[in-house]
């Protein structure tokens, strides 16, 4: 198997193809979260694509559900469903709709409205705690999403119940649809916010699969409290003209941009091999 870093660029190409094909999607956030999802599904999570409902499997909730194209591409590459299915994303009558749905193999919960995932993850982790099960629960949250008050209700409950089987990941790309997160609604002292809620806080380079993997390993050995990995990412990572540009939150590339992006992703993929 090619290395994980190279894989992330192959997955980005699938995301790009999907978005261009269905003429919709959130490419900026998809590209910032790609390495997080790839690391989790390819390195960390105990899942079986042939048996997606396997007892004791690890669970993931994509709370920032608008990055669904990234999740679909990762799941397809992991073998949960054929890559050809990506051509039907957002198509008339398709089950591959524009936000995560549990009708798709490998997806646990429906999402799309921000601020729900962490609390749902708390419930899943509590069930694991009650059953003495060893599975872990991952919840991927956007940084703009942190303005939803319900996130902090979930954060409070997770530490109250000492859910060390729960790991939140904040895709900290510092951009949201209207601009910089810090201008829209600031997250000053983000580490302290989480630690004051009783969480173990780990920072990681969010577009580096090795750094992410190391962070998730630390999270696994943390006892008595939940862990949040604050993944410092770049929105649009992998395609230089999309990087750090709020305009690429959900823009669909034109033919020329598609060619440029494809060429750059291919170069980066071969450089990583």
């Amino acid at each position: 198997m090619e290395n994980l870093k190279a894989k992330t660029f192959e997955i980005r190409q699938d995301i790009l193809d999907t978005i261009v094909n269905c003429k919709a999607g959130h490419i900026g956030g998809d590209f910032s979260v790609t390495d997080i999802l790839t690391t989790l599904y390819f390195k960390q999570m105990n899942v079986d694509p042939a048996n997606p409902k396997m007892m004791g499997r690890d669970r993931l909730i994509l709370s920032k559900g608008h990055s669904v194209e990234a999740l679909y591409a990762v799941l397809a590459n992991r073998g949960f469903f054929p890559k050809a299915d990506l051509k039907t994303v957002s198509a008339y009558g398709s089950k591959y709709i524009g936000h995560p749905t549990n009708k798709v193999n490998g997806i646990e919960m429906n999402s799309g409205s921000l601020g729900h995932g962490l609390s749902v993850g708390v419930g899943m982790a509590l069930a694991g705690q009650m059953d003495n099960a060893s599975y872990r629960v991952y919840v991927v949250i956007g940084d703009g999403e942190l303005a939803e008050g319900s996130v902090w209700e979930g954060a409070m409950a997770a530490s109250h119940y000492k859910l060390d089987n729960l790991c939140a990941v904040v895709d900290r790309n510092k951009l949201q649809i209207s601009g910089c997160t810090e201008d829209v609604m600031g997250h000053e002292n983000l580490d302290e916010r989480w630690s004051s809620f009783g969480w173990n806080v780990i920072h990681a380079e969010g577009n580096d699969t090795d750094a992410l993997n190391a962070a998730f390993e630390i999270a696994k050995t943390t006892n008595g409290q939940p862990t949040v990995v604050i993944a410092d990412t770049i929105k649009g990572f992998g395609v230089s003209f999309m990087e750090n540009a709020a305009a690429w939150h959900h823009k669909v590339p034109n033919a020329e941009e598609y060619q440029l992006a494809t060429a750059e992703l291919a170069l980066k993929r071969s450089a990583a091999q």
């Binding site: 919960m109 609390s119 419930g123 899943m124 009650m130 409070m156």
Partner: protein
């Protein structure tokens, strides 16, 4: 007068069933006292989750538990559960199709004196309009027990509203006919029909008895299954009786009366429907009985309305 309120019955059923089924989990939002679930929390601490005053959180957590095989029962005041947590109920429960039962306690105008913040007089409209969410308003303690046992046996989302205070028995121990999702005929009759749910079933039953003495034969349907509505029973009543009165502890818009009117208006043969309900304004302060009396949600008003309709 019966002194056992429906909340107590819910506690009793859950205490007894959780001994047999370790997947039952009850969740409260600092509401174990008001939900009469303190006993449950004591007897089954490992099958109980306290979330504090966080009605959005409690519903999502319940959904997460259910997604991992638990049978979640959330008990929280109906006023908060049916509106503040509505999006969580929509997305994490109904849309994700998780086995979560939302028990709205002290529903309707049970908290009569506490103002509109504490009234849930639009919960059929809110919860009932969510696709894949069922809505149940049991009438008395006997039916509440039967309903709980039926809900424990299924895997689908539901919202259940019960009032705060004990209500008079409509049924008796050992004589509580119950078929899930089918209205119970509380009183037979062929002149007109009263359709009621929850706390309105008892006054409807009383009205039928009073009308009987005056030679009017009134059918009473206990429509505990507000959604899915027992349309067959409604259509049968429309065919076999001259008019329908709906009485509900709910506002007009999106309520039982509106749903039944919509159904009957679409039939080839028109049926007269009169709806007794709460007005489009904050309800007055008072005990439930006083509030009901003020707005005409009484057996006396039902009798008068029936007579006017048949005159």
């Amino acid at each position: 007068m019966n002194t056992i309120h429906n909340r107590q019955v819910i506690n009793d059923v859950l205490v007894e069933q959780a001994k047999l089924d370790k997947d039952i989990v009850v969740l409260c939002s600092d509401s174990r006292g008001s939900a009469s679930l303190a006993e449950y929390a004591k007897v089954h601490p490992k099958q109980f989750v306290e979330t504090g005053i966080a009605e959005q959180n409690i519903v999502s957590i319940a959904a997460g538990l259910a997604a991992c095989g638990k049978k979640s029962y959330v008990a929280s005041p109906a006023c908060f559960l049916s509106t503040r947590s509505m999006e969580q109920a929509k997305v994490d429960v109904a849309y994700s199709n998780t086995n979560v039962k939302l028990i709205g306690i002290s529903g309707g105008v049970s908290y009569g004196a506490l103002g509109m913040t504490h009234h849930s007089t639009n919960d059929i409209a809110t919860m009932g309009s969510v696709p894949n969410m069922r809505v149940y308003f049991p009438s008395d303690r006997h039916q509440t027990r039967q309903l709980m046992l039926a809900l424990l046996a299924d895997q689908k989302p539901a919202y259940i509203r019960v009032g705060r205070n004990p209500v008079e028995d409509v049924y008796t121990e050992g004589d509580c006919p119950f078929v899930m999702d089918q209205a119970t005929v509380v009183h037979g009759g062929n002149d007109l029909t009263i359709i009621a749910s929850g706390e309105m079933v008892y006054p409807a039953q009383q009205a039928a008895l009073a009308l009987e003495k005056e030679g009017i034969s009134c059918r009473v349907l206990d429509m505990f299954c507000v959604k899915p509505l027992d349309t067959a029973a409604v259509l049968k009543a429309a065919r076999e009786t001259q008019a329908v009165i709906v009485i509900e502890e709910h506002v007009a818009i999106g309520g039982l009366g509106a749903t039944i009117s919509q159904l009957l208006a679409a039939q080839p043969q028109p049926t007269r429907v009169v709806s007794l309900c709460l007005p489009d304004e904050p309800a007055i302060a008072g005990k439930s009985a006083e509030v009901f009396a003020y707005y005409g949600l009484t057996s006396d008003n039902l009798v008068q309305t029936a007579k006017n309709l048949l005159a």
